[in-house]
Symmetry: D2
Subunit: 485 residues, 4 copies
């Protein structure tokens, strides 16, 4: 990743950082950021941009409130804005993390495919739901990329918006010199789990930071072929565990009742490890959308493998502003209704930001266009590997290739992603449908069902499909679901 | 393809050709060969090798009987043998075309997957049935390749045995310098069809020979992106036809009743052409096994697209020696019960053989290891393109690449093929199962169903799975279908 | 190569062909074409375009005069024009074959580098002279390509202008859908030589047409790794000859005195064959410019290897209109001063044209953008391999790759070619100089000498360097040879 | 790089390290290691192996003597051995750093090519001298690799022996799972220089550690396309400096008189930067052997560019045990004749070793087989890039590709290296000669001179060419220099 310009005002200095937060009205992630920043050895100001400016204002208020706490060691100031250009202007770092109204988008992403027998567990990053999420999101992120090119071309851009691969790819497609990285927790979770195994089985007192993995793949379908804890190779342990009882558990619907959808039973992980000899590094509920054998047979199969499907009711409830838990917290904290403790979140953003200002090197997993870090995947596709973060620099680590079967699985998904992103350049719906057809979840449908599912999703989410030339589509014209006058 | 040795006794001369026919007891293809040779400008002798030597002897008798006919212009003599080494010794050309007992092999290939909802239309070249056919056949063909290396390393080897890709690949894997080509009718059928369109719609009086296509892909999943009839570009016509009524027919089970399984309604072809912009060049019944949307939904979907599934009863009946139509013919012809007319078959073997002896150049489609003829497919994988045949030389034509979605489909199948062939080197069942899991038909199954289907097929066809180390398989040990003591 | 449009008026019919000849005032090649066309089974009209319209008129007159001869079996009419658009309009085939004033271009190409110790033997296709020829020619051919796109986008374009690789590459760079092929004799000469060897040593009565070779590389640096005569492998013979006396001859300047520069002693060929195990397939005088060991040591080394350098005096004399032998012939023939016999030339153009109209398939060597025909060379670079020509279709044969050392040599030259052609897009002189520096002949110079040689050539040929932004060049500004005000 | 086995006794712990030093009698590098280890936060034992066991014993004595100094914070013990197996047995880390008698090897490497006009400045890593050094060294290192496989397959192997690329490549060729890295100072020197520029021109107080570069290429021909000092982009500064006076200095022989050969005037660096837009990152004296324009014209050109050639007399004197400066030091230190101060060297070995035991991450440049870290160079070739070193893990950073001209230069050298290493597998002299012919320095010779130079070098160094089948060579048989009976 080249920083074309040597302007000393960009990162490389931990004082006076200027951060733009696109989607700054976020109820979950913004408060976490506020707390992490308050505890960091970094100072500056944060501009929270949101189309829903009230949410941004509430977070700004919270941010400044936290700064007044004694435990806040850093010096940050927050303001809200509904002007994107203003938010970006002169930013050293840009966080992008946005979503559309879940009731109108996530809910059909989950429910419409289910009518066709497709039981995507999350439906957020691949499969029909994930592809539609990409189709909704990409045009907006092309606009963000263009605005970044205009207002802060040197800024480091942190993308948290799903589907991370599609979105990060689109940012680069629109503005190839952008300094963007896609960030995600899943690999961190794997490292955490491996630390637990090392502690339990090898008598080590290990935490996530002690575990290093050689990770590669695409977001939510990453794989590990080396793992160490404090330098000790964990592979023999993994091979032993894979054959043990814990790795061969079977679940029933009753077992899962009351469980959080985020509980990760790792049975999908173990099965894939046994079959292919490399370890998947994402939550089971994400893996099953890429390794689609685990959603064949629908609910029953998911149950048996201990994967709880994100219910669309849950989605609608928990992500809707009025009822989300996080909203309540911020206001409760400030009002004193709930006790506030200034504790760090589990996120790595502040670590990455710190390393970019000189507090490195820091190694963590990131999503970046492939320039060799994953062998045998096409150049330019967005892949996830470790990277080393240093002052004003992020460099992916060369992670090597895959065993052929895993490479085949990964490539298939990359082809879907590249096809859809390419189609988005001109808003060519039928070209995007080619990517939709390639999707492994869609491949369980007959040609006509695939077309009708596509058309139904277009109808359900049409209000969010700006940038797509629906009228020019032969596929929609052929369908019975899509109304033509 | 390099002919390493300049021995003038190999091809390059049309007189005194020595042909070995492995599987020479064939009831269908051997009598066709006999007739074509009798009408060719070539002379020599043919050794028919078969484990079932009686069948070979009957064909030898028929061959010599045909030679006595007045219309026979060439001079050929036939003899049968059950000694492979003797058959191959000094051969200029080797034909390989064998099969196992259909009742014990093809029938489970079709019927067992169907129990799992997999409606492979032919089940002979991909999908669970095709993969098992490959697993049965490859070890035997490794033996053939080794024998060819020993007895006639310079010979031209014509493989007709399905699955052509797997088998041809295995021949090269075992003996990389082999001069083998895989041959198949399907592209010829496409050219025939295009000639009909040119005749009907462009007022040309065209036959297959007038049509040239730029063909590429893998056997039974080949694609055409240029087509001409007597030099006239057929693409505009194809694009027009694709939108017409004939290309949008829907069928019911009743429509298909009484139809031959070989009737090709081209509806799958047209649909794929509309979706991807390139034309598939194989019968619809083969295409659906690779473009698996058309078998999702099972019988109903097949019916709607006008594809008749090869019934296992048909298979067993028509391919079993005692009842096959061809057997009857040969004997009937010789006995005089049926009138015999010496007419050429539709095969290209004699054309290729003629071109190899100097009567070229002749351009036709062949299956060969990729050395650039298909861009963006891996080197060494067996691909199908046109080749030009000249004296003692076969060279594939560089056909270019694919649109990304089609390339993705093709690559997925190549990965299955390469995985299984590689597994066959050591007989590693679990490695072969990785290929099985990758198969698009199998991807509709849950992990456990995939494993059980695999194990059931092993059980059903165990007598034919020489060369696979079944006892060492974890997958089989996990399964309930496979008995372990 | 895709013919995008099915217009039946383009090739595919041998009657009423419309040919445009760009550079139709040619004194050597045009009369040969006239004779070949007169003897062909093709009819039509030829428009001879030339900036020197008198030359074109003389050739038109000659063409029509030949048509009146009894032996002329075909029916062709000729006319001259100085209007390029008119010449191209509606053409089925376009021949491009032009040159600049040799005294002002070829002479410095040969003489200026010689002052720096660079003894390019022909200086026409690579090395400093070849690169400058490319720099002079490419901008004009970009104009031709643009005019072809406008007036006859479907036409088959036959490029004979050197440097064939650079020029053909530039045609495609400007108009990627152009149906252009670069044609050259050299491989035909190799086949002719091999036929002589087969006749002499194997007792065959062989001619060029009986010899097939697997050829690959770039024009004038092509290599053969398979050769057969009537199907008989010639490799063992070549290996034997390579060790014999005839393949180890050493020459002195005296030996070569009076010899034609076109005499090919094949000693360079044999030495390269001994070293690298594959056979070069171009005249020694061309090979030495690519395999530059043979010009190190200058005249003495050339002499020792039996290669006569094209003298710049020869060039100036023989290629200058007023004195060229061919000019005299045409006029002498028509005036009756010299007896005229209507005999075919040795060219393959009419064979290719015939095959394009349906008289095929015909296999011959052509220069085309790489789409896999040469493995391990970059896609898009213009390479030379065999191709099969059929009705309205030219398809290269997949020729495989090279032994690493030969691949390395070839790739180095391709990099020069690609660098210069890319630089020509914007006329970036310093980018072209990077290609110049990479050239193997130039690599014998110090950095300063390389720069001064470049600048001297610019000065000498400045009148022909339209399309290059000389003023913007840092390299020229640094040089002492190039005047700056 | 995969650590196949999780044996906890290998690195990942900073106590009780077991180091084998192959070539432990070294007079320069071993004493430096002793000092660095004494100051490190690491403990263990070091076994110094050398065929010249006296030298090893002297270094062991010195090592233990240093440990007795008060300033020595670490706890290390040293012993000498002449038994390789014993030295390697159970080693956690292996240092390899050996040389042959310089009078009999380096001297002809420099002097013999000079007679042919080849003025290699160092003649140690490429060019005829470098290739012969490789040919001498590779067979021995194949033995080392085999011994490491047997005695300490998990050990980290640090190769300092030149030619680093050839030698590291040979280690991997012999034992693909070896954990070897090739280390070299040159890039560190570039970072040091850039720190000086940043200090001088940007008012920063910078040292080498503050400078990060994106480095890629092959050892001694590495290139930088990004450089930062404390996060500040140095590119604008470099572009400015490149046009200034300091970057356009010209030298005469007189200017250089009395200068050390190690003085680096950076004029070659600046010229290459101006021409190609990327910055070379090795000393000028190394660069000129790869960018051979700078040695064309011999001594005069070297002088003009400020590069002092390593004189063979210097080589013989300074590297011969009896007279080398370093030897004197160790003995003088121990005897008290010279004052000893325990100060760190400039080497990174101890930093790397520390990082491997958990004191990381540490980023530095290393030589490793390419698995994607350099785009568009072949997989497996040994390339130099940055790597991040963590506990028991070294991972190269993906550095991207090159501008085409630089890629072409680098690839040419890689082809030489790969050709020679491949030839060394069977000791095929003529195959190695193919690599020799490809070398850019050799390409200035005629075919016969190239052969004679090769033969003369064989004759001069025959005693060191074990492992090469000289008798089977056609090239040597053809030469006049190589005696045949």
């Amino acid at each position: 990743m080249t920083v074309a310009n040597g302007d000393a005002s960009t990162l490389g200095d931990s004082d006076g950082l200027s951060i733009a937060y696109v989607g700054g009205g976020s109820r979950q992630w913004a408060p976490a950021l506020v707390r992490d920043l308050a505890l960091a050895d970094l100072d500056g100001d944060v501009r929270l941009y949101d189309v829903n400016v009230e949410s941004a204002e509430r977070n700004a208020e919270f941010g400044n409130w936290v700064q007044d706490r004694d435990e806040a060691v850093a010096d940050w100031s927050y303001e809200a804005t509904d002007d994107l250009d203003e938010a970006l202007s002169g930013a050293d770092a840009v966080i992008v993390s946005t979503q559309f109204d879940p009731t109108e988008t996530f809910v059909p992403d989950l429910d419409v495919p289910k009518e066709y027998g497709i039981y995507g567990a999350v439906a957020a990053t691949i499969g029909p739901g994930g592809i539609f999420r990409a189709m909704r999101t990409i045009p907006l992120y092309r606009e963000f990329a263009a605005a970044i090119r205009e207002h802060c071309p040197e800024a480091w851009v942190f993308n948290y918006t799903n589907p991370v691969t599609f979105v990060t790819r689109a940012l680069y497609d629109e503005f190839p010199e952008i300094n963007a990285i896609g960030l995600c927790h899943e690999v961190l979770g794997t490292r955490h789990r491996l630390a637990e195994y090392a502690s339990e089985h090898l008598g080590m007192d290990a935490s996530r930071e002690d575990v290093s993995v050689n990770v590669k793949g695409i977001n939510h379908f990453t794989w590990v072929d080396e793992a160490r804890c404090e330098g000790v190779d964990l592979w023999p342990l993994l091979e032993e565990l894979a054959e043990g009882e814990e790795a061969r558990r079977e679940f029933t619907a009753e077992d899962l009742e009351g469980e959080s959808v985020f509980t990760d039973n790792w049975q999908v992980t173990w099965e894939l490890f046994r079959r292919f000899g490399v370890l998947p590094a994402a939550g089971d509920r994400h893996l099953v959308e890429y390794a689609t054998w685990f959603i064949q047979g629908g609910q029953e199969t998911l149950d048996r493998w201990g994967v709880k499907r994100t219910g669309s009711d849950y989605r609608a409830k928990h992500w809707t502003p009025a009822e989300s838990k996080q909203t309540t917290d911020v206001e409760a904290w400030m009002s004193g209704d709930r006790e506030f403790a200034l504790e760090p979140s589990n996120e790595t953003f502040v670590d990455v930001l710190g390393a970019l200002t000189g507090d490195g090197p820091f190694v963590t997993n990131v999503n970046l266009p492939n320039e060799g870090q994953v062998e045998d995947l096409q150049s330019g596709a967005v892949v996830e590997t470790n990277a080393v973060v240093r002052e004003n620099e992020v460099k992916p680590l060369a992670a090597g290739g895959f065993p052929r079967p895993v490479r085949s699985l990964v490539r298939g998904h990359v082809d879907v992603q590249e096809t859809v992103v390419e189609a988005s350049r001109t808003g060519d719906v039928d070209a995007a449908f080619e990517g939709f057809l390639l999707d492994q979840q869609v491949r369980t449908l007959s040609p006509e069902d695939a077309r009708e599912l596509f058309a139904e999703l277009v109808v359900a989410e049409e209000a969010y499909l700006d940038g797509w030339d629906l009228d020019a589509s032969d596929v929609l014209a052929e369908s019975s679901a899509y109304p033509t006058e």
